[in-house]
């Protein structure tokens, strides 16, 4: 009788231990499940941020083209559009002793250093005449993946030109 009850007790204990192990396994699985669920969850969409960036970039080109530069002490004012147009075709304009390409480049670099550089954007900006790059202002994008891409075409007396800005 004693032997039989001892055996029963041992079997009961073994069952309890198995149950304990099972509970531990279930808990580990649950924890792993939660961790994986949270780590594999897709990042929240960046619609708002990218919309703000797109808004900023869409105005950038036209605003640069219409801004002016004082080209002489007498107060001769030239628009960036004029300088870039001359840079692309004629090479006649002198602005503060500089040729049109250098003057335009200097002004745009100054604008970029106080805007896109300050906002920590990585960007590529070029002034193109068809497929030919007339003025490579910044070539910071190394990857082909773009965050925003804005083209601002502008007409000159000689032909069309385009200001291209790509952020990445």
């Amino acid at each position: 009788m004693k032997m039989a009850s001892g055996k029963k007790l041992t079997r009961g204990k073994a069952q309890m231990e198995t149950m304990g192990l099972l509970i531990i396994v279930i808990l580990v699985t649950l924890v792993l499940f939660f961790v994986l669920t949270f780590s594999l969850k897709p990042k929240p969409d960046e619609d708002t941020g990218s919309f703000a960036r797109e808004q900023a970039m869409s105005n950038f080109g036209p605003t640069i083209l219409e801004s002016t530069v004082k080209c002489s002490m007498e107060g001769r004012i030239r628009t960036m559009r004029e300088l870039l147009s001359d840079c692309g075709y004629e090479h006649e304009i002198r602005c503060n002793g500089l040729d049109s390409c250098t003057a335009a480049n200097q002004t745009i670099v100054e604008i970029l250093s106080l805007t896109l550089d300050k906002w920590e954007y990585t960007y590529t900006m070029t002034i193109d005449k068809g497929d030919i790059v007339v003025l490579p202002i910044a070539l910071n994008c190394t990857s082909s993946k773009s965050s925003t891409f804005e083209e601002t075409p502008f007409g000159t007396t000689h032909g069309p030109m385009t200001l291209r800005i790509r952020t990445c």
Binding site: G49, T107, T115
Partner: protein, 172 residues
């Protein structure tokens, strides 16, 4: 307190002690796992809340920027057809002056349009200058994510056009 089981030799039962230790280890491991799970869940929730509040702040700033950039009080009269965002330098200065002095209860009027925010126009080319158009903050939050919008500021007297940035910050 239950006394520890003693073996026939009078020493405490080693098997019982082992089993007790086993139970304690299991409880410790389970508690650690639960804590790790809790930390992960809380961290994720906090990150989500932060992202959401930043998103809301940017959205509100975008709304204010759109309202501010479409105010006819400060727009250029000639160039609006050419560029959608051109502001008259003298109108900006006058607007800023009127609002800063709260003339004709103007702050209250614009509060309904722009709320708890700061709208600034930063002229970059020519002579750099910051013109604060509107600034009202009655919340504890002193800083927020800025929304920047490139705009053109034209001086109608000298016919110069400056590259400028409209910076909008909202406080909530």
């Amino acid at each position: 307190m239950a006394k520890a089981k003693k073996s026939k030799s009078g020493f405490p039962n080693k098997k019982g002690q082992m089993q007790n230790a086993e139970t304690i280890i299991v409880i410790v491991i389970v508690t650690i796992m639960m804590l790790i799970g809790l930390v992960v869940v809380v961290k994720n929730r906090m990150r989500e809340v932060k992202n959401n509040s930043e998103d809301i702040s940017v959205q509100r700033a975008m709304e204010v920027a759109i309202v501010a950039s479409n105010m006819n009080e400060i727009k250029c009269s000639e160039y609006t057809a050419m560029i959608k965002t051109c502001y008259d330098y003298h109108r900006l200065k006058a607007f800023s002056s009127v609002l800063s002095k709260n003339m004709h209860n103007s702050s209250l009027f614009y509060y309904y349009l722009l709320g708890n925010s700061k709208v600034e126009v930063k002229i970059i080319t020519g002579t750099p200058e910051n013109i604060t158009l509107y600034n009202y903050n009655d919340s504890a939050n002193k800083s927020s994510f800025p929304v920047n919008m490139p705009v053109m500021v034209m001086n109608s007297m000298t016919k110069e056009s400056y590259f400028a940035v409209m910076e909008v910050r909202t406080h909530s």
